[in-house]
Symmetry: C2
Subunit: 120 residues, 2 copies
């Protein structure tokens, strides 16, 4: 799609027929990868099943890649769907965020901490 | 698995052969759902492809269910993989968190806000 940041050529770390992985230019941790469908779909729920499955297959490979190169202690996997959920680039992307012991004082809750309303 | 909170009988909202969805007992927003593989796997990357695909098929149905019942303005999808990433219940689960306009002063960034190291 014209003027889409993620449709523009990227230096891919990994790819398959329908999906690609590249480093986030604003990483929240060492090795932070993004996985996208190569075709332009604004949000995750618009992505056809075959393309979603290609993203998930690439996610597995991306995890193996990061395990080998960064040796993280865990991962957060996340997708923001829509501006109200914090999505800024309107080309569907999945965050694979490596986590390291000690990166926060208490990691308990993970993605639950995203909202101040967290009751968990 | 014996003594696993998510292997214990749950009041499922939705299910298919291999996956189930139920409300988080500590919701971070109205309608916060969890999607699990019915079989016990501690973390996401241990879940076989067929079971992952069943989770993703159920995710799509869960989104439609929440759209109909809660009319959210967006969603965060998230999986914490391992204790270092904040996973507390060691039965793989995916969070589907409905988001509503105004639920935080500035939603920009979504899952990126989870870590204080957020540079994005």
């Amino acid at each position: 799609m014209k003027d889409c940041l993620f449709c523009a050529p990227q230096p891919y770390v990994l790819e398959n027929d329908l999906a690609a992985a590249f480093f986030d230019i604003h990483p929240v941790s060492r090795g932070h990868l993004l996985i996208i469908p190569k075709q332009h779909y604004a949000t995750y729920f618009e992505v056809p099943t075959a393309d979603q499955q290609a993203m998930m297959a690439l996610l597995k490979q991306a995890k193996a890649y990061l395990d080998a190169h960064y040796q993280p202690d865990g991962y957060n996997i996340g997708i923001n769907v829509g501006a109200a959920a914090g999505q800024t680039v309107m080309h569907c992307h999945l965050h694979l965020i490596p986590r390291y012991h000690g990166d926060v004082p208490d990691p308990t809750g993970g993605i639950r901490k995203m909202l101040p309303a967290d009751q968990g």
